[in-house]
């Protein structure tokens, strides 16, 4: 299993200025201000479960842009219903990446409920037809273009290693700054 940062770096390197990037709270949101992201970024620092529906609203409002959203397994476990909402709305321009490390990393690395969730199966059962699972950078690099080309909402389950010693930077931007800079 690969560490988070190389996976996040690889994803960012595949974005363009025509994309939009939305992130749930946590490590990805904290790394993003330190990366050269070519797309507008809207990163949450609270509101668990809001990232995917927020991205859905953006995708529906701007069909000319491709919206990529990063969600965590802890957040989605709290609100898996959103998968059905996305499937019903069926935006062709939404790619969801679910980062799975089985931890509430943002609050100290507490474990999720001790069960192995079949995220790909859950997504398919909710009506998401384009689902992939990846656990290393080459697989991610292959999955993202396929998701973009699906012309339907797609989910990529990204398995990453949990490293309690990972030096994740703190939040460095305030919500007002994030919103003000976010322009499509």
């Amino acid at each position: 299993m690969t560490a988070r940062k190389p996976m996040l770096d690889a994803l960012v390197s595949m974005l363009t200025g025509r994309d939009v990037l939305v992130s749930c709270l946590g490590a990805n949101a904290r790394y993003l201000p330190h990366l050269e992201v070519p797309a507008p970024v809207f990163a949450l620092c609270d509101a668990m479960g809001a990232a995917i529906p927020l991205a859905l609203g953006m995708a529906l409002a701007r069909p000319d842009r491709h919206v990529v959203v990063l969600e965590g397994d802890g957040s989605l476990l709290m609100s898996p219903n959103v998968l059905a909402t996305v499937a019903a709305a069926a935006p062709p321009n939404l790619t969801m990446l679910l980062w799975v490390n089985r931890r509430y990393e943002s609050s100290g690395g507490q474990p999720l409920p001790a069960v192995t969730v079949d995220w790909a199966g859950l997504a398919r059962a909710a009506g998401i037809r384009h689902v992939a699972s990846v656990a290393d950078v080459p697989a991610l690099r292959a999955a993202v273009p396929r998701a973009r080309a699906a012309a339907a909402p797609a989910l990529i389950v990204v398995e990453i290693a949990f490293d309690p010693a990972e030096a994740i930077p703190p939040y460095s931007e305030r919500p007002e700054e994030i919103r003000t800079r976010f322009r499509l």
């Binding site: 509101a47 529906p53 609203g57 953006m58 529906l60 919103r179």
Partner: protein, 164 residues
């Protein structure tokens, strides 16, 4: 024009193009009118928190979204209203069916009716009760514009009689 049609006309006049909803009996009737609008896309959400986030996403992307839910769903939304709408200062207009007040004939809604307006005040959410004796389209349009001007939420409470 029915009250539901007036509300939809107000949404259209305000430039709302996305209406995210979880229905109850009253909101379901309103959404029937929304679905007849050629200018508004109805988004059926599984939970009310999603509807709030969908509308926020539309607003952040340069469009205009609105939320149509029951007060039970509004009571679910404390976290997303605080952690998204308030924290990031995002316009968010909500039409909420006020179940359980003296006008509601269904007994089991009463506990929600007793706490809805107090909750709105505690959460510091600007709100108004719709008045079907006036022009509902104007009340809706003013609510949407209030959200845009204040970069925040506004809740318009409706009752079944407002839709007739």
């Amino acid at each position: 024009m029915t009250g539901a049609q007036q509300i939809v006309a107000g949404l259209e006049a305000a430039g709302v193009s996305i209406a995210a909803s979880v229905p109850d009996t009253w909101i379901g009737r309103l959404m029937e009118a929304v679905r007849r609008s050629p200018r508004i896309r109805a988004v059926d959400a599984a939970r009310e928190e999603e509807a709030v986030a969908v509308a926020c996403g539309a607003n952040l992307a340069g469009g205009r979204g609105a939320v149509l839910i029951q007060n039970a769903g509004l009571l679910n939304c404390g976290g997303v209203l605080a952690g998204l709408v308030e924290l990031y200062r995002i316009p968010c207009f909500l039409v909420v069916s006020l179940r359980g007040d003296h006008r509601d004939p269904v007994y089991y809604h009463a506990p929600k009716g007793r706490v809805t307006e107090e909750t709105l005040r505690a959460w510091r959410l600007p709100y108004a009760r719709a008045d079907h004796r006036g022009d509902l389209a104007v009340q809706v349009r003013q609510g949407v514009e209030f959200c845009a001007e204040t970069r925040g939420p506004f809740v318009l409470l409706i009752s079944g009689e407002d839709l007739a």
